[in-house]
């Protein structure tokens, strides 16, 4: 891995953000709106539900964590789409940069993009709704690692689709996370799902992450085994995502789609 090249590609996306105030605003706007919306819903449930009566902010914390996953995935997709939209795709793929360096650059830059959007929203939630994700303590770091790996995996799968099918796959980029959200048990316990869906849900890291988050906030106990289980599952998916990306890249070379991308 050549870190100068990873830095160069990261810099390309940072310049893009820094050159445009509306772009920064757009990054911050949607997470903030989410926090407001879920903040009020959370407040209502806290006052009206037995399940949440003793715990303030479970839903809002879940919304913040889910948004972290969503932003990570979308950031990865968006940076790849930017190359297609700007018709820079050919220039990028003929540059002497390894495919794994492209993946590394997008993965690293996606965290910066995600945090630009999410940190202001998280800070707003503290005074406005009295909810801080930091209440999760040390396990928060591991939960975020697991979520990030899974978010990047989804990004890798969508970008693989873009390589395979071209820009027409773009809409899937936006829909991918909504497809998995019901199975992720973000706002409700896994028992709500029908039996057969519970089996599918358990092979996703999301269930383990959000179940653990609820457990920490409601019982103030941490089961690190569950957290590491979610990280292991996320890592397996991440490796699978990288493999699919490579397969799509070699497939795109075979089909010749790399030279026409963006046209």
């Amino acid at each position: 891995m050549n870190f100068n090249k990873i830095y160069a590609l990261g810099l390309r996306h940072l310049y893009l953000i820094m050159n445009s105030f509306p772009r920064i605003l757009d990054l911050i706007y949607w997470p903030t709106v989410q926090i407001f919306l879920w903040g009020f819903i959370s407040k209502f449930f806290t006052l009206s539900s037995d399940y949440y009566s003793n715990t303030v902010g479970i839903i809002l914390t879940a919304a913040i964590l889910y948004d972290f996953l969503f932003r990570a995935s979308i950031s990865f997709n968006m940076m790849f789409l930017e190359e297609i939209w700007s018709r820079n795709f050919t220039n990028l793929f003929i540059a002497p940069i390894k495919i794994r360096e492209i993946i590394a650059a997008l993965t690293i830059t996606a965290i910066i993009r995600t945090l630009i959007g999410l940190v202001p929203a998280v800070l707003i939630a503290i005074p406005l709704f009295g909810v801080s994700v930091l209440k999760l303590g040390l396990p928060l770091i591991f939960l975020l690692i697991s979520l990030y790996l899974f978010g990047i995996t989804l990004g890798l799968l969508v970008t693989s689709g873009l390589l395979r099918y071209g820009p027409s796959f773009e809409n899937i980029a936006w829909a991918s996370l909504f497809f998995l959200a019901p199975l992720g048990c973000i706002y409700y316990p896994i028992e709500i799902l029908p039996g057969f869906l519970q089996i599918i849900a358990k092979i996703l890291p999301l269930v383990h992450i959000f179940e653990e988050m609820r457990s920490i906030l409601m019982t103030e106990t941490v089961n690190f085994l569950n957290i590491f289980k979610s990280i292991i599952i996320s890592m397996i998916y991440f490796c699978f995502g990288v493999l699919v990306f490579y397969i799509s890249y070699f497939g795109a070379k075979k089909r010749g789609t790399l030279i026409n991308m963006g046209e």
């Binding site: 090249k5 893009l16 002497p96 010749g256």
Partner: protein, 243 residues
């Protein structure tokens, strides 16, 4: 021989885009790749750049099959410019050159950017976003990017397409001058015959994925009994025969 293309073919599903083409390029020579639209020029360039994998055949650089080189090792010796491929529009000219300079691992980057931008007269719009530039300015920036690493092998796909005669002439003169000052092997795909006559040491004529003739411009004009390369091109492009 510097570059050897041996029986190179590319089939997309059932469509034969490039059909067993073979040619050689000597070091520091400029070869024109001519042919009507859809004749396989872009696919050939794509295969040389590693963007398209050949169905059959070999690309040999300095007696070594291109496949034995690592991707980044071989690509740092190449570069490419085409008006159909753009640089990120929302980045300034300076930022784009910086990014590509870093990607190509240029050590004295500021110096190289200054040098190339003075040569191509792009310094006065360094701070402007690339998407806001005129076609002529964009072409010069694209050419600057393609020369940032002082490539040994430069592939140019219609470098003066859609430019006014003045800017077109500036680009052609610059390439001509650059060739003299630097050691570079150029493969130029173009529909502008006077450009090809001016810049190329020899030309390869393609039609329907095949090479139908090759030689120096003078040789081809003489061989086909025409007055200039444009008329020769028309004869070859419309003919059903191979030569």
């Amino acid at each position: 021989m510097f570059i050897e293309i041996k029986n190179l073919s590319k089939v997309y599903n059932d469509y034969l885009a490039v059909n067993k083409i073979s040619f050689q390029i000597e070091k520091n020579k400029t070869i024109g790749l001519l042919g009507p639209n859809g004749c396989g020029k872009t696919t050939t360039i794509g295969m040389l750049l590693g963007l398209v994998s050949p169905t059959k055949g070999e690309i040999i650089i300095e007696n070594k099959n291109i496949n034995i080189f690592k991707r980044d090792e071989i690509l740092k010796r190449f570069n490419f410019a085409s008006p159909y491929v753009e640089l990120p529009k929302k980045l300034t000219v300076r930022q784009n050159l910086e990014i590509y300079g870093r990607l190509y691992g240029i050590s004295n980057l500021d110096e190289r950017i200054n040098e190339i931008s003075e040569d191509l007269d792009i310094k006065n719009f360094f701070g402007r976003k690339t998407g806001e530039l005129s076609s002529g300015q964009k072409n010069r920036v694209s050419l600057a990017k393609s020369l940032i690493n002082k490539p040994e092998i430069l592939l140019l796909d219609e470098p003066t397409a859609s430019l006014d005669p003045d800017i077109g002439d500036f680009i052609r003169s610059y390439i001509q001058e650059y060739k003299i000052k630097n050691k570079v092997t150029i493969l130029l795909a173009s529909h502008n015959m006077s450009e090809v006559e001016r810049l190329c040491d020899s030309v390869i004529m393609m039609r329907k994925g095949k090479i139908i003739d090759k030689g120096t411009c003078e040789e081809l004009i003489k061989k086909h009994g025409r007055d200039n390369l444009e008329e020769t091109f028309l004869k070859l492009a419309r003919s059903k025969d191979e030569f």
